[in-house]
Symmetry: C2
Subunit: 95 residues, 2 copies
């Protein structure tokens, strides 16, 4: 009846991050922060979780002299998102 929802994606902020990355293929920390409205601390934590699960990849580099964290969706992350959307349908199709 109701399919289980991946707890890693069933979180407002993490879902926003993944959604953003699927749309953009690459995004920097400050941009994600601005688009999601998250605090830096919360964003840092949630990015770590997504990264630890292999849903996104995180590259820490430098932009001139400033640190720069770039995030990208992985194929694992994309698949997880697609599965999540599919599972959600079991809750949203209420006919």
């Amino acid at each position: 009846m109701f399919k289980p929802l991946d707890p890693l994606l069933h979180s407002e902020l993490r879902l926003a991050i993944v959604s953003l990355l699927i749309g953009a293929e690459e995004a920097e920390f400050p941009y994600i922060k601005e688009q999601t409205g998250a605090t830096a601390g919360n964003l840092s934590v949630q990015i770590d979780k997504l990264s630890a699960a292999g849903y996104i990849e995180v590259e820490k580099t430098f932009k001139g002299k400033k640190p720069c964290t770039v995030c990208r969706i992985t194929s694992t992350g994309l698949k997880a998102f697609e599965d999540y959307v599919e599972a959600l349908k079991s809750y949203l199709d209420v006919k």
Copy 2:
């Protein structure tokens, strides 16, 4: 960009309960328990929360000699669900 998700509905079990009630208009506690696979304790707590928010109405009656808890969706709950689905789209439409 990303619309906020009603925290009351953005919960796997509560979403399942509301989804079920929208589809059925009325359901008894044991049936909801069976359909969602939730434990009785968890279900009791989440039903209380939805009831306190006015998303569902709960009628405690008797079926013969046994207690019987019947739940129904309210118009507030239906509206909240529709808003939630609408907000979710901002995360799911990733073109």
